[in-house]
Assembly symmetry: C2
Homo-oligomer: 281 residues x 2
């Protein structure tokens, strides 16, 4: 079987990691990047065989992987869209699926929506690494417009990279991501804000001394890159608002239990959360 | 200067660690434990020179450290209270100060309220380790009934253990602990509950596959020991409810910003949380 020539648009954490692994498997990999400085560094790191800032670098590829940030996936440059070979299979790596599908199913006949889970947060041309996807989940959210053959092609790439291929519908995906990945950012950010309020925190100096691993862990994602949090909220707004509403009802319930001194009930609730957590790890 | 004979009540993480370090410095250390099995293991580990389940093991000590869980500190056994030498200096290690002070200032004339910060969560007779307090904060919350000489005695022990001695009032301490240590438990528990709700999470199986380090970190303290969470809520109830109220107003504000598509404002908020977090670490 002849392996495909793969075009990767963007050589950050995801694009760069895909490029490294696919080359080792014998795929031919072409990388399209935005900046000359990125091109130079990506070449030094060997993230693809051919790397350029010119869109025609992907013209003979049969698979295109759009490894771009969410904001660029939902608002793609026209020059990129024009450069995509019409007979190639095109996939993305975005963490939200519905808005991307709404746009890309109109832009390309062989679009396959996908979302590889990486679990790391580094970004940029230095971030790509070998075996990033090995043993991880790669989700696809096909619609009735998705071509079966195109779907099989992307599945092959994902499984070649060692991922487990999981199929679901876009709404279910976006709601799950809202709960598991986007809601924690705002839950965590609100905690940081509260700790910094002078009207309740009589001694912020003391609070800073008291803060230890519990506070550190619980606030990590809320103290992260603001653009990531913004992108989640903008592009997964309705699922996130649903998740926030549901979260508030859980929080209010715990508060009411404490207010009413229902300690037996509180213990039951905390036992349940203790027991449920390992399932998510 | 003759070093004190120190009695430690409870040889778990805190008591055991204090015992190990103080012996190395030449202090004489007597340990009082609850169970015969603990006595045996504590002796094998050398957590104190003399260890017993009989309360008279502490009868000749000039310093007593009550290294007990919160629930036992606020509801001490009468046999323990009776066994405390009246001329000894007595301190505790509880993470909430007001309810402990209310009880212990009536029970002993030389009581000094204190709270060493450890930042680890292991418990039991195996948990004690050397240098646990080195470079960490040891808070005291004296009142107008606290004896200055007694305060100086405990300060000496804390600084001998390498801790930084910090003085504040009980209310400020309890509010800071509520914000930094207790609130995160319930913020995090509510997140776990939300992720497990079938009415919003159409595919819990998928959610479990998606969960990665962000979810893991944000839910760690909410999935911890239910008794710890219960103790925080019971013994620091009013400060915790204040903190929860303030938290909800932060959370609601973020939700309103998202609902109204105020992306510029959201970015400002997330920039602020990003900038504030390093101060707490």
């Amino acid at each position: 079987m002849k392996l495909h020539r793969v075009g990767i648009v963007g050589l950050g954490l995801i694009g760069g990691s895909i490029g490294l692994d696919l080359q080792q498997m014998g795929y031919e990999v072409c990388g399209l990047v935005h900046r000359k400085t990125t091109e130079k560094r990506a070449k030094e790191r060997g993230l693809a065989q051919v790397i350029s800032t010119e869109v025609n670098v992907i013209e003979n590829c049969s698979i295109i992987i759009l490894a771009l940030p969410l904001s660029q996936l939902v608002n793609p440059e026209q020059s990129l869209v024009d450069a995509l070979p019409r007979n190639a299979v095109v996939t993305d790596v975005g963490s939200v699926k519905k808005p991307i599908i709404d746009i890309w199913e109109k832009l390309h006949p062989n679009f396959v929506a996908s979302h590889p889970m990486t679990g790391t947060i580094e970004t940029g041309v230095e971030a790509g690494k070998n075996k990033l996807f090995n043993g991880r989940t790669w989700i696809t959210t096909p619609t009735n417009r998705t071509q079966l053959e195109a779907l099989e092609t992307i599945k092959q790439v994902a499984t070649d990279l060692g991922s487990q291929w999981v199929t679901t519908d876009p709404e279910t995906h976006d709601q799950a991501v809202a709960l598991i990945s986007h809601l924690p950012v705002f839950v965590s950010a609100a905690l940081l804000q509260t700790a910094g309020k002078e009207e309740i925190n009589k001694s912020i100096t003391l609070a800073k001394r008291i803060a230890s691993s519990g506070f550190k862990d619980t606030t990590r994602v809320g103290g992260g890159n603001p653009d990531l949090g913004m992108g989640m909220a903008m592009h997964n707004k309705s699922a996130l608002l649903n998740a926030m509403k549901s979260y508030r009802s859980s929080f209010d319930k715990l508060e009411a239990i404490i207010r009413k001194d229902e300690w037996g009930k509180l213990k039951e609730e905390l036992l349940e959360t203790q027991e449920s957590r390992p399932d998510f790890l």
